[in-house]
Amino acid sequence: MSSTEAVAAQPHPDKKLEQVESVVIRFCGDSGDGMQLVGGLFTNVSAVFGNDVSTLPDFPAEIRAPVGTLAGVSGFQLHFSSHDIFTPGDEVDTLVAMNPAALKTNLGDLRRGGTLIVNEDEFDKGNLQKAGYATNPLESDEVISKYTIHRVPMTRLNRDAVAGLGLSQKEVDRSRNIFALGLVYWLYDRDSKPTVQFLNDKFKKKPDVLEANLRALRAGSNYGFSTEAFTTHYQVPRARLAPGTYRKIAGNEATAWGLVTAAKLAGKSLFYAGYPITPASDILHQLSNMKNFGVKTFQAEDEIAAMSAVCGAAFAGNIAVTASSGPGICLKGEAMGLGFMTELPMIIIDVQRGGPSTGLPTKTEQSDLLLAMFGRNGDSPLPILAASGPGDCFTLVQEAVRIAVEFMTPVIFLTDGYIANGAEPWRIPKFSDLAPISVVHPHGAASPGQFATEENGHASNGNGEGEPEFLPYKRNEKMARPWAIPGTPGLEHRIGGLEKADVTGNVDYSPHNHHKMVMNRCNKVAGIANYIPLQEVEGPPKGKLLVLSWGGTFGAVRTAVENCIAQGKSVAHAHLRYMNPFPRNLGEIVKNYEKVLIPELNTGQLRLLIRAKYLVDAQGHNKIQGKPFLVHELVRKIDETLEG
């Protein structure tokens, strides 16, 4: 077989091929071991095969913590299934651990009876010590009795397979992860073709390294095929997803694509300003690589500058966007207030991470909701949307742009580290099927008969007499003011952060005007509720318990509630994507159930808002560990709440 060919799945006469519905597999190792890469490759072959997939990458904040230490462990979890799934899975079925530190930090998540594959060669005294093991855990009775262990001498086997290519030991060992991948490909009967293709592309210019990786992949697979210890391998049939063409998409990628798409749908240019921060940087990277779509990206000197530049670009008539995470959003606060006061359309994306302060940079959390709601001086409500999953980022960020330009307001778009980095299958839309976004700029004096002031105002009186005058704060039926942009003759006007007179926009500090303008701005944002969809509920429209969730916890909560409904329990699920204003039927919905349970990855921020707004005694389920919810913990909480 030539090395560029895929490893064909050969049947083995003595080995069973069993069908299973779904599998959760986790690769873990040192952050230099390439776990994210093999996780991504496994996801790809599974998605291309037709499984539903959901992933959870988990990496350390330090780029290179000391090798072999607990701090340096990097993991990638993948759930692939023959039916619809919404989460990366609670418990791990198969754990691949490349060293003792990885075993130590991950073994707790492996289910009883699960498969444990370890690189035995790394379990030497030094590494055991670094991981804090006094004795070799692979020899402990507890571990042996609980799991099916495969001690694979991966380092040695891989060196044998790759020998003779003239690569250094270091280069040779770098392909160990691919060996491990080959082994689990055999174990789950995966077709390695997309991976072979990927390796061919990646190492086009390094034929030796390519050959090493292809040999490693094959050696791993052959090991599973021929070693007696592996008696069975498994097949996860295709999922029955809705017809269409699919690809895998991660949240940040979907956000970036959604933004470029929205700008095109609005017929406008996209201006993106940002300052690098985990886990939002990928949006900047993605957009910077899309210059041929006309995207302008501006890596500013800090988040204050990025937000300020966004205000400038919005004034100039672009679809202006910035993204950051908690610490950066704090810095943006003052300029977001300016955007609110000047009533210009713009998008502020917060890819939430563990806080407060620098907190847990690479872990997920939902603790910026109140920051988004209230993190500015004065009465300054902003519309807030929260994506429910990676694919939803694409759709919902377009909705954010629509609201921004229709209502002339900054819009906050919340995602989180979990959906930003996590991937799922995404049904590819046709661009021509997407809803256009309408933007109207008033014309100036240069277009006779279309002078904005005809519908806008006249200086001396309201009767359409006197000199035509442009009125930058005259509102339409949605209470939006006109978006008149520089370069338009006759519409020269000044805006700024000072309070302005109703209609004319001139600086005005008079008491009643201020009261009116504050109310105008608040009412405008509140009124968006009349233009967004009603809240939907999954499950009975009335009953014992409503589980109310928002943002990236959708998958886990939906799965938990579906499980409970299947058991005949009186539970319903409402998942919010519109956080401010809330859908206008939400108040009614929460009163249709005896109890309301709000699970959140924070101390209860949505709960505070729901209690305050609707006077319901909502209860919380709050987890603040930098990790997403597990389905079974939610099921347990639902049961408790129903009984309690």
Binding site: N292, F298, A309, P429, E492
Partner: protein, 343 residues
């Protein structure tokens, strides 16, 4: 388009066309009035339609400026005008964007943005109104106030070492650096005009009298009876001379400037000659370090060099990528990478 349309599309503008209908709220005899008046004179000479001017400012007395101009204007937040203006300019390079800022606005709270705006060399025109005081907040010392300055926040004298805006600008790789005085009407007009014509970012410091909180801080540079001995007008290619009878000059002694009398065995050729086009900013920097009262303070264009312009480069990169990859195709984007079909 008919030729008539072309002719009529650029009406001849006057200073009046640039005056807004807003009541000006500066204190009587504030130096800001004069700067406003000169700006209104300069803009009509540039041949740019009024609707293509944008004035962006921060917060301060000086930053009220955009309200008084009948152009597009954005009164921003304290210190952030350079960043707001960068957003305007990068997104719409065809606009002529002016940044109006104060010594506190630009150098204290906005110091970081100023540095980065300058080094990027966008086509922005910056006018820093230096009154060596915080005017709007009623008289605290600023980053340009001299040591010993008594203000409300420094009742026994400031101990902060001040900085020179021009040194800062030159250190930040500014490609056009100039200085003038609010009441020096002709000179200020000339400097603003030159700034307007510079293709990259132009930085102009204007000595501005705060009539209320720091009156006559620049008397030495503005009083016609004494200023000749305290300021020096820079002219490209000409020796550095000053003084009532233009008898004094600046000569280099090693790395240091010194004041010499012209005549008495020293002639003009011995003096330092100005070169605003020097590619290295050493001379400009040396000039920016000459401070009153030890030296006459130079006025005029310190530096005017050409360098790649950020907003143009942005557009060029986009054009190059379109040429290389073809214009963005959304369906191709969505379908890139591994895909699979479910029937």
């Amino acid at each position: 388009m008919s030729t008539d349309a072309v002719k009529t599309s650029l009406p001849v503008l006057t200073a009046k066309d640039f005056a807004s209908d807003q009541e000006i709220r500066w204190c009587p005899r504030c130096g800001d009035y004069s700067i406003l008046a000169q700006m209104k004179k300069v803009l009509p000479t540039l041949g740019i339609p009024r609707e293509n001017f944008v004035f962006v400012s921060g917060i301060g007395c000086s930053s009220r400026f955009p309200y008084y101009m009948n152009t597009y204007g954005f009164h921003g937040i304290h210190g952030r005008a350079p960043a707001i203006a960068s957003g305007v300019k990068v997104s719409r390079p065809e606009l002529q964007v002016w940044v109006i800022t104060g010594d506190g606005d630009a150098l204290s709270i906005g110091g970081n943005h100023l540095m980065h705006m300058l080094r990027r060399n966008m086509g922005l025109k910056v006018v820093l109104f230096n009154n060596r005081i915080y005017g709007l907040t009623k008289g605290q010392y600023s980053p340009t106030s001299p040591v010993g300055k008594i203000t409300y926040s420094t009742p026994v004298g400031s101990i902060d070492n001040p900085l020179s805006p021009l040194c800062y600008a030159i250190g930040s790789e500014a490609t056009f650096v100039a200085r003038s005085v609010d009441v020096d009407i002709k000179h200020l007009t000339f400097v603003l005009e030159r700034a307007a014509h510079h293709e990259g970012t132009a930085f102009v410091e204007v000595y501005q009298d705060c009539n209320i909180f720091n009156h006559e801080a620049f008397l030495y540079a503005s009083d016609k009876t004494i200023k000749a001995d305290h300021i020096l007008y820079l002219e490209h290619g000409k020796p550095l001379v000053f003084g009532k009878d233009v008898k004094k000059g600046i000569r280099l002694n090693g790395m240091h400037p010194e004041i010499v009398e012209v005549g008495k065995g020293i002639n003009e050729d011995d003096l330092l000659f100005h070169d605003e086009k020097a590619s290295e900013p050493s001379l400009a920097f040396l000039l920016s370090r000459m401070r009153h009262p030890e030296f006459p303070e130079p006025m005029g264009i310190f530096r005017d060099v050409a360098a790649p312009i950020y907003d143009q480069r942005v557009t060029e990169q986009i054009d190059a990528e379109i040429k290389k990859k073809g214009p963005g195709d959304f369906d191709a984007l969505y379908n890139s990478g591994d895909t699979w079909t479910v029937e």
